[in-house]
Amino acid sequence: MAAPGSEAGKHETWPLWEVFIRSSRGLSHVHAGSLHAPDAVMAVRNARDLYTRRGEGVSIWVVPSEQITTSDVDARGGFFESAEGKEFRHATYYTASEEVPHL
């Protein structure tokens, strides 16, 4: 995934694609890595050859790397702060029911 680096927008002969693989039915597609391909059709094929040589996948997604939007780097500390300190969102917070079956 392109970082905010020196050449992030530099033209390459073939663009960069991010590859997501579903390893078996019932599971999500998970980021596997990236590769270069001239277009989406070839990107899927290259992904098949590169990332599933040992039967690692049953389905592939490819996305142009430049199309991926990430959460704001600079605000990151604060961005995920809201989730902190809200232990009551987790089952482990509720101890009164510990000995009660099926709860």
Binding site: L35, H36, A37, M42, R45, N46, R48, D49, L50, R53
Partner: protein, 273 residues
């Protein structure tokens, strides 16, 4: 001749066939073995050619792709040769390394040199469509082992067809240079198409065990010219080559291929590797 109850899901390989033969799988009759030998040689020689590409492909991703296709074909070859060889108590390696040039019975198309990437893609298009049509029918062979090899190979060859079609489109419709080269590649390979589909008495004699080559011509003619035209290219109108690969007649380039393939094994007859 249906003689095994092989589970449909078993991925057939040379190792599996060898094991089954050891466990009593019936060996093929001489004429069936000869048929399997031809199919094995086709796949082996094309795999050998694709092996020459490694580290020379136009892009790294394509090195991986051509390697995959070569490996698939080598797998098919090993299965066919293992099965064929069992009729004569020969191993796949006895057949691959200790036959002379004239004893190989692959069609000439498969031995044609790689040329540039477009030549290779043209050869891949023709070869993959041929294999695809052939294995599709051979799945129903009365010989359960041939049927199983074909069923496994078909799934892989499907992808080879797709790979070559994608590239013919891109080279045909890419730049002026690629268009010209793709056309040149097709022109170079086209004379060797006809041989694939010529009637063969020895195959006909096998009845429901084998697939008559001429029965595959219609599929080929329905699909390949359409791909060529859709890619903005012209279907070559060229005289077919004389052929004769199944009878051991080969083009000059073939001797070099065989010499290279066999050199080490021949220097150490009887050795284990």
């Amino acid at each position: 001749m249906k003689h095994t109850n092989r589970a449909v899901s078993t991925a057939v390989s040379a190792e599996v066939i060898e094991r089954e033969l050891a466990e009593g799988l019936e060996r093929p009759r001489d004429d069936v073995a000869r048929y399997a030998l031809g199919l094995g040689d086709d796949a082996l020689i094309l795999a050998q050619r694709l092996g020459e590409w490694i580290a020379h492909a136009p892009e790294l991703e394509e090195d991986v792709a051509l390697g995959n296709i070569g490996l698939d074909l080598l797998g098919h070859a090993r299965s066919f040769l293992t099965y064929a060889g069992s009729a004569w108590s020969k191993s796949e390696d006895d057949l691959a390394y200790f036959r002379d040039e004239q004893e190989f019975c692959n069609h000439q198309l498969f031995e044609r040199p790689n040329g540039d990437f477009a030549h290779t893609i043209a050869r891949q298009l023709i070869a993959s469509v041929y294999f695809d049509a052939l294995y599709r029918r051979l799945q129903a062979s009365d010989d359960a082992t041939l049927a199983a090899i074909a069923a496994k190979a078909l799934k892989e060859v499907d992808y080879h067809v797709d790979h070559s079609v994608q590239w013919v489109r891109r080279l045909g419709g890419g730049t002026d240079v690629s268009h010209e080269r793709m056309q040149a590649g097709l022109d170079a390979m086209w004379p060797f198409v006809d041989e694939l589909f010529r009637p063969d008495e020895s195959v006909a004699a096998l009845g429901p065990v084998a697939v008559p080559p001429e029965s595959l011509r219609e599929t080929f003619e329905r699909t390949v010219p359409a791909v060529i035209v859709a890619s903005g290219l012209q279907v070559p109108e060229l005289q077919p080559a004389r052929g004769g690969g199944r009878d051991g007649l080969h083009t000059e380039a073939f001797g070099h291929l065989v010499a290279e393939m066999q050199v080490l094994a021949r220097r150490h007859p009887g050795a284990t590797w």
